[in-house]
């Protein structure tokens, strides 16, 4: 495991680019002198300080897994949220926040790992999985990688183009509210049959990373165990919320 020596230190981060990903989601690239890289799957704490000294801290997974001083986060607006609407709608290039991290040594994928991997993401839960997909591609890993990505509609997918173009990962899209025209699977929540279909396609005993809102992760993990996956090989990251 990578020992992250100075995670208790808040570092100043400057927004260097901001890209709308979906109607409710936005990617922010932060420049953080002294960051020094992170593992795929780790997260950072982001701290905002108002002029009167009031502070708010939230955790955001890191979408990038590079060695340098830049990191990318991708935030989905939670209606009535305190922090996410500010990050999605208001913050601009040149603005500053503070970050602490990288954090977390459990929900991580390392390029040395060779076993097949099944990634299951719901909504913004794609973020740490995206870092894994990118690390897998960048390292030239030959570990079989498969991603099941559940989103409400095609417009709600984060990183859709990059995922469609990615080599080395097979992506299964699950649309829960509205599927593209002519899509073979009717819109609906991820179900046991969707996950069983993967096994029929020959994905065997993979290690699993499941990430998203708490309810989504809870349902996915339960389903995987029910259809016979080894609970010891399922890692979960719950973002909170419903």
């Amino acid at each position: 495991m990578r020992r992250t020596g100075h995670v208790d230190v808040w570092k100043t981060a400057t927004v260097v680019s901001a890209t709308q990903l979906t109607p409710s989601g936005r990617s922010l690239v932060l420049d953080v002198p002294g960051w020094g890289g992170n593992l795929a799957g780790q997260h950072a704490d982001v701290r905002l300080t108002a002029p009167d000294g009031y502070q708010a801290v939230r955790s955001y997974s890191i979408a990038s897994a590079d060695a340098g001083d830049r990191l990318e986060i991708a935030v989905d607006r939670v209606p009535d949220g305190e922090v996410s609407p500010f990050l999605v709608d208001a913050i601009e290039v040149g603005d500053q926040v503070e970050v602490r991290g990288p954090l977390g040594g459990w929900f991580v994928w390392r390029p040395e790992e060779t076993e097949p991997v099944l990634l299951v993401g719901g909504g913004s839960g794609i973020v740490p999985l995206m870092a894994m997909v990118r690390a897998h591609e960048a390292s030239g890993s030959t570990a079989p990688f498969r991603l099941v990505y559940s989103v409400r509609s095609p417009e709600d997918a984060f990183f859709a183009e990059e995922l469609s173009a990615a080599t080395g990962v097979e992506v299964t899209w699950i649309y829960t509210r509205r599927a593209p025209d002519g899509w073979p699977r009717p819109a609906g929540r991820l179900a046991a049959a969707d996950l069983q279909a993967l096994e029929a396609a020959g994905v065997e005993a993979p290690s699993v990373f499941a990430c998203g809102p708490t309810g989504f992760v809870e349902a996915v993990a339960d389903t995987l165990v029910t259809i016979g996956h080894d609970p010891a090989r399922i890692k979960t990251e719950r973002f909170g919320g419903a």
Partner: protein
């Protein structure tokens, strides 16, 4: 000195002196775990305390229920920053369970169904500070919150309150448990914000 974030106003929040630094109040009960939720039948459930002499004290579900049951009302603090005030639990005090346990060791490793571990100093478990909880708000504890039984150590961050607990092993030294090996603080005092190692 923190940098200010231009344009960030935050939200007027209720101030409450029961909130440790960096925590916010929640009314719901978030779920955080490292993997799937284990489902353990009370018929199979067993709880053990193991000492350095190799002695094992065991309780099955009925034996646990036969012990003195406490009602516990405490604030709980999760390292992910939520705090829930005045939560109400039912369970057995660890003072009751340790009554006949002989050990000269100062530390405990809690072990859970599903493989989770967490380390705790023995003195943080005794003198009315910790319980094996089997009830929440008068109902059996749900599996997603650690049922049938979890540790409850309200004065430490909530990851120390191991869900699906199955045993405690006396330890001479303070060895890190699961989250502690993965970057979290060895002790976890919410009032000192001991979040990360």
């Amino acid at each position: 000195m923190a940098v200010f974030t231009r344009g960030f106003g935050g939200r007027a929040r209720e101030q409450d002196d029961r909130l440790p630094p960096g925590q916010f109040l929640t009314e719901d009960f978030p779920v955080l775990s490292a993997g799937p939720t284990p489902r353990i039948d009370t018929d199979e459930w067993e709880f053990q305390i193991r000492t350095e002499a190799g002695e094992t004290h065991r309780w099955d579900w009925d034996a646990l229920q036969a012990l003195q049951q406490d009602d516990i009302t405490r604030d709980i603090h999760c390292v992910t920053r939520w705090t829930k005030l005045g939560t109400s639990w039912q369970g057995v005090s660890l003072d009751t369970l340790f009554a006949d346990v002989e050990s000269s060791y100062d530390f405990v490793m809690a072990h859970s169904y599903g493989g989770y571990t967490t380390n705790i100093p023995l003195e943080d478990l005794l003198d009315g500070k910790a319980w094996i909880a089997t009830g929440f708000n008068g109902e059996p504890l749900e599996a997603e919150h650690g049922g049938p039984a979890r540790l409850l150590i309200p004065h430490l961050y909530f990851w120390k309150s191991a869900k699906w607990v199955r045993g405690l092993v006396m330890q001479q030294d303070d060895e890190p448990g699961f989250w502690e090996q993965n970057g979290y603080h060895a002790y976890g005092d919410p009032w000192l914000e001991q979040r990360y190692s």
